[in-house]
Structures are given as structure tokens and as C-alpha cells.
């Protein structure tokens, strides 16, 4: 925890900053407090431990950088979505680690806010922000990946509570999570979307077993989660039983439209890091000055600008009170594919560095080779590219499927 000793004890969350003053405050706090070893564009980078990440994110919350739009009654800072965007722009500009509790903050939390009971809001939401409870998302199953309506995990009534049996897969971070937001079937499989319910299942409950799956980047971050007659209290059922599907759709719309809102600004941080590394290398500095790579880097920069436009337009629409609906699919499709193109360009460039490799190239390769591999998942999770295209065709273009 020593790397976090520098974190300012002074909270800026309670200050009444407005507009650019708010941005300045967030910017100053992050720059003063983000440990150098957390910055993947730094020679001092060392991947933080879980405990370090938890402590850092708790400090970010105290500073007012997470839970920004959540009501103050549940631990949030009660600010606007536009301020959420400002804070995320500043978060994106720094090469900081991804949240270890983004499911809690960006999926479970908003769903509980939308359909949870008052007791659930008070019990779960502050614990998410304070990083006392880490969440994971139990939607996908071996037989129900993109087609969630086909999921088979069953929730049956058991006295006042429920009993859950089934298997989830691709559950990111389950090994470190305290709770899993589980989508389970209360009716028959033929009911498809009907009869689905959502539960906040404690992962230390009897009958829960978590097995990690090694992914292509060598990490063991996503998991299989097995539920064998797991007893779940009614108090942990989120929303009414037949609200499960509607809540799941809401989760996915939120996930696509607003989660990790900082992405475009993080991609810009990545692009600047890539260029700075190239400019420190004899061979690459000549290459990035050459028209061929200038054009290709320019194309990445244009895509980042367009992605910012997608995000800002979505925020403005939501801030006006519009429902985001299927439009989140446009942004999700755009960022996931453009990030893959960028990552491929990055490793192509870095592979042509001078020998012996200088420190700048070693740091950049470590970061971009990881990004390249992780980006392969980005067109798969949160709805594959093919699912997004289907949603755009069905719900935005409303193309006829009729014979």
C-alpha cells in the first residue's frame, strides 16, 4: 500500500466546483495523486496489486471521481452527467489501470438504482463506491452467449427465498468479487425473455464455485461460476421476478452507451504515448515523420475525434432527458473496431524499432502488446460486433424482417 501514501487526504468531493473549475480540480487531484507506478506510459510502471487498486479506487471515490451522478443518499456525489463526462475525460487522459469494480460501479449500481429496493440501495451502493464490495456480472452461459434469452440457470422458490442452480461463463473478475449480478430463469426455457429474474448473489455462499479461465493475454481474469443449489434471500432479488429481462436490457444499454466514458480520451493518451515512444527511437522517429505512417496515425486520430463526438452527443442526449435506447450500439461498435485497428498499427510500428531497444520502446511494447491482445475481446464482450449490427438494423433502421 506504500505507493498510495502520497494520496491526498484532502477530499475535493464536497467543494462546489462548477464547469472548468470542476475540471481543473479533477485534473489537479489526479495528477497529484496517481502513483507513478500505476501509469502504464511510465518507465516506473508495475501492474498494481488488487489491494493497491482497491485503495486507489476508494481514494478516487473520496475525491469525487466515482459515484459522480449517484444520489448523495446512497453515497454518490449527486452531480450531473455532464460533470461525469468531464471527470472521465480527465481520467482518460492519464494511463491509469482499469477499475477492478467497473461492474459494480457501471452495471450493478445503476441497475440497483433503477429497480432495487430502498434497503438494497442503502446496503449495496455505498459499499460499491467505497470498494468494500466488488461485483461481477453473471449473464453469459455456455449455451447462452449472445442469446441471453436462452439462458438455463434456474432460480426456484424456496420458502421466502430462492435456490439457484446453473453455470455462468466469461464472468470477468469473479475470483476477486464479493457479489455476482446473476440473471436466472424462473419460468420455462421456452418462455425466452419472460420469467427471467436478477439476483445479487454473495460469492461466499455455500454452493458457489469459481474457476478462472486463462485468456489469450496470459491473464486469469475471467471465470466460470458454478451455482449448485445456492440459497439466495429474497432481499437479494433485484427487481420483480418478471423484470429480469427488462433490467438486463437496461444494463446492456447503459453498458454500451456510458460505461468507461473515458475511452476516447484514454485512446488519445495511448496514441500520444505511442508517438512519444516512436519519436524517442532513431528508426521510428523517421517513420512517423514519413507520409505513410503520418496518414495512418492521422486516421487513428480522426477516429478518436469521432468517438469523442459519439460520446459527447450521447451525454448531451441523456442530459436532455432522452432515452439512449439502441444508440449505444453505435458507439460500442465504433470504439471496439477502431481500437483494434489502432492497436494493430501500434504493434506494427513498435516491431520496427531500432536495436538495441531503448527503454521507451520496452515500456511501449509492454503496454501495446497487452492492449492489442485485450482489444480482441472488445468486439466480443458487451455484445459482439454482429449483435450490435443486428441491433442497429432492427431497432435503429427498423429494417423489415418480413417475408
Amino acid at each position: 500500500m506504500s505507493v498510495l501514501q502520497a494520496v491526498s487526504a484532502q477530499s475535493i468531493a464536497g467543494e462546489n466546483f462548477v464547469g472548468e473549475a470542476y475540471r481543473d480540480a479533477m485534473h489537479r487531484w489526479l495528477n497529484a495523486n496517481l502513483p507513478g507506478s500505476f501509469r502504464s506510459d511510465s518507465a516506473a510502471f508495475a501492474s498494481p496489486t488488487l489491494q493497491q487498486s482497491v485503495a486507489w479506487e476508494a481514494a478516487m471515490y473520496r475525491a469525487g471521481l466515482t459515484g459522480i451522478t449517484w444520489p448523495q443518499a446512497y453515497g454518490g456525489h449527486g452531480r450531473s452527467l455532464r460533470e461525469h463526462l468531464i471527470a472521465n475525460q480527465e481520467i482518460g487522459r492519464l494511463a491509469m489501470p482499469e477499475s477492478v469494480n467497473s461492474i459494480g460501479k457501471e452495471l450493478a449500481g445503476p441497475i440497483i438504482l433503477a429497480v432495487g429496493t430502498e434497503e438494497q440501495k442503502r446496503r449495496f451502493l455505498p459499499a460499491i463506491l467505497e470498494m468494500r464490495n466488488i461485483w461481477c456480472q453473471g449473464f453469459s452461459e455456455p449455451e447462452a452467449g449472445s442469446d441471453l434469452a436462452g439462458l438455463r440457470t434456474r432460480a426456484t422458490r424456496d420458502g421466502d427465498g430462492w435456490r439457484i442452480t446453473g453455470q455462468k461463463i466469461w464472468t470477468s473478475g469473479a475470483y476477486r468479487a464479493h457479489r455476482c449480478l446473476v440473471l436466472a430463469r424462473t419460468g420455462a426455457l421456452e418462455d425466452r425473455h419472460r420469467g427471467l429474474a436478477m439476483f445479487a448473489v454473495p460469492l461466499d455462499a455455500k454452493g458457489v464455485r469459481v474457476r478462472t479461465i486463462k485468456s489469450i493475454d496470459g491473464r486469469e481474469s475471467f471465470c466460470e461460476v458454478f451455482f449448485d443449489e445456492v440459497e439466495v434471500a429474497q432481499a437479494d432479488a433485484i427487481g420483480a421476478p418478471d423484470e429480469g429481462w427488462a433490467a438486463a436490457i437496461r444494463v446492456l444499454e447503459i453498458e454500451r452507451a456510458t460505461n468507461r466514458m473515458y475511452r476516447a480520451w484514454r485512446f488519445e493518451n495511448e496514441l500520444r504515448h505511442l508517438i512519444s515512444a516512436c519519436k524517442a527511437d532513431a528508426a521510428l522517429s523517421a517513420m512517423v515523420a514519413d507520409r505513410h505512417y503520418a496518414v495512418r496515425l492521422g486516421e487513428v486520430a480522426v477516429e478518436i475525434e469521432v468517438l469523442k463526438a459519439h460520446v459527447e452527443t450521447a451525454v448531451e442526449a441523456l442530459a436532455r432527458g432522452d432515452k439512449i435506447g439502441a444508440r449505444g450500439s453505435l458507439a460500442k461498435l465504433y470504439w471496439s473496431e477502431s481500437h483494434q485497428r489502432f492497436a494493430a498499427l501500434a504493434i506494427e510500428l513498435l516491431s520496427q524499432a531500432s536495436l538495441p531497444q531503448i527503454q521507451a520502446i520496452k515500456v511501449a511494447r509492454q503496454r501495446f502488446e497487452a492492449i492489442y491482445l485485450q482489444a480482441r475481446a472488445e468486439t466480443i464482450y458487451a455484445g459482439t460486433t454482429e449483435i450490435q449490427l443486428g441491433i442497429i438494423a432492427d431497432r435503429i433502421l427498423q429494417l423489415s424482417r418480413g417475408k
Binding site: G36, R39, D41, S42, A43, A44, A95, L271, R272, H273, I275, S276, A277, K279, A280, S285, V288, A289, R291, Y293, A294, V295, R296, L297, G298, E299, A301, V302, E305, V306, K308, A309, H310, E312, T313, L330, L333, Y334, I358, Q359, A360, V363, A364, E386, Q388, L389, G390, I392, A393, D394, I396, L397, L399, S400, R401, G402, K403
Partner: protein, 341 residues
Amino acid sequence: MSMAEGLQPDEFAATAARAVTACAGLGIREQAKNLAGDGLLGVIADEDVGGLALPLGFAVPVIAAAHSGLLGFPLLETILIGRLLQSSLTRLAAAIVSGEKLATIAWQGEAAAERDGGLLVLNGALARVPCAASADHLLVRMSGGAAALIPANAKGVVIEDAAGLDLTVPEHAVRLEAVEVPIGSILPPGTWDLLTSDANVLRAAAILGSAEACLALAQEHASTRRQFGHALSYNQAIRHALARQKLGLESIRHAITRSLSGDGGPVQRDAAFLAAATYGSSISEGALQIHGGMGFTWDVPVHRHLRRIRTLQAQGDASGLIGRFGRRYVSEVAPFAEAGA
């Protein structure tokens, strides 16, 4: 900016669409009068020259509607020149805004100038000049970033038909052979950069209008054309192709919005045009593909939009701009410091 109060840019879209429809079949000078009558030629020009003094964002739906409706008039150039001349050549600006005079811009090439007493003598080869054969005045780029306004009938101005894709607003080539113009016709250095920055936003709007028309045509065709017992839109390959076109279209629209927002600057304006050039081409080519053999016929208007988009892409020098855009980005980043970030 008093005219802007209470008005929204989108309100101009319907007016512009009606005006474009009313221009069908008219000669270019009659079109100018009609468009001026609806206030569209002076939408961003000062009230002193008969304009509406609205921000650039109000010209976006006007240009988009003009291109969606395949208006055969150099509207983008007229709107920009009217405002450009409003301070220095007020009477001419008023004549352009009122539709009495026609002016256009040579988007490619530049003129070299030599001073001869109170006159400048211009020489040069220029191209990508929309409707030059009908224009009264030509705005040309000078070396050094200034611009000159030249009467189209001045001695030494040779206007020639040019090969070009655009059928709706045909381009011409112009040669300047010792053309004498008064010093007062020269607009100051920096004029051209300002002009092209605004032009890039409006070109993106033009491409948006054409791309929107293409996607609408493709969607209509996919919904009504039947093959193998189904509408084309029954097939996932067609649905996904149209969904990608929609993503491109919304990307252009959002990029334009951002370029005109408080965060918008030269980078965002260039990005809007570059995004429009890329996605506009793929949307129009994709729409043609969806139409199958019908898409390759003269009568289906997708090719007219495709031709215009490709022409706008070239007029804005998208391929040169993307290189400059990348170089500018690269030049602004410092080399990695070995001591750590």
C-alpha cells in the same frame, strides 16, 4: 448574432429542402434568385450585405438539404464568399447574397502574382472550380495564403470544361494568363486557411446530405426488392451492410456537431471533413452495391451522390489533409523521456 436568438439550425432544413425542390429545372441565375429569396445565400453573411448573420452551424442543414436534393448550384461557395467579402467588398458581397452576381472558388491550384504599379498580374493553372463557366467572379488562392477575387470575364482568364465526376455542379479548369487585377482585390494572408476551415465543415455537411439520401434509397430498395422469396432486408448480409452505413452516417453527423461546439477548433473541423470523406464514400458505394444491377443504371440517383461525394473529397484535398493532420499530431507530441513520464 441577434437573428440566432430563438432559432435552431434544424429549422432551416425544411426551408432549404423546399427551396431546393423549387429550383428543379431552373437555370443557374434563376436558382440564385430563388435561393436568395429564401435567405439561404446569406445565411451566415452580415445583415449589412443582406444576410441573416447566423453562425456557421445554421449553414449546415442548408448545405445538407441542398446536397440531399441534388441542387445544381454552387451553394457552398456562394455562402462562404458572401461572408468573406462582407467587410472588404461590401457591394459585391451584397450582390452575391441577393443572387444578382454569381461567384465561385477555385479549390485546387494557386496563382502567382507580380506587382505592376497599382495592379497585380496573375498567372497560374487552377482546377476544381464549380460552375466557373456561369460565374461572374472567381476566388483563387495566392501563394502565401492570401486570396484574390477575379472577374471571370477579365482579360487573360481562360475557363475550360474539365473532366470530373460531378454531373450536378460540374467543375471547370481555369488558366490565368497575365490577368491584371487591382491591389484591392487581394484578400489578406490567412484568408484561405479561414475559408478552408469553414469549407471543411460545410463539405462534411454536403457529404452528410448526400450520404443520408443514399442510405434512404438503399433502405427503401432493400425493403421492397424481393429475391429468393424475401425482401432483401431479410438477409443478414444486407442488414449488417446497412447497419454499417448507418454507423458511418451518424459518425459524420456527430463529428460535425462536435466541430461546431464549444470544444470545436481546426482539429475538429478537419476531423469532421475527413470522417465525412471516408464514410461518405463507403456509404454511397455501399448503397450502390445494395441496389445490385439497378445501382449501376443512370436513372437510379445513387451514382449522382457518389460522384458528388468523391468530388467534394477531392475539392477538400482529403488525401493531402489526412497526411497533414497526422503530421500535425505527431509534431505536437514530445519524445518519450527516458527518466519516465
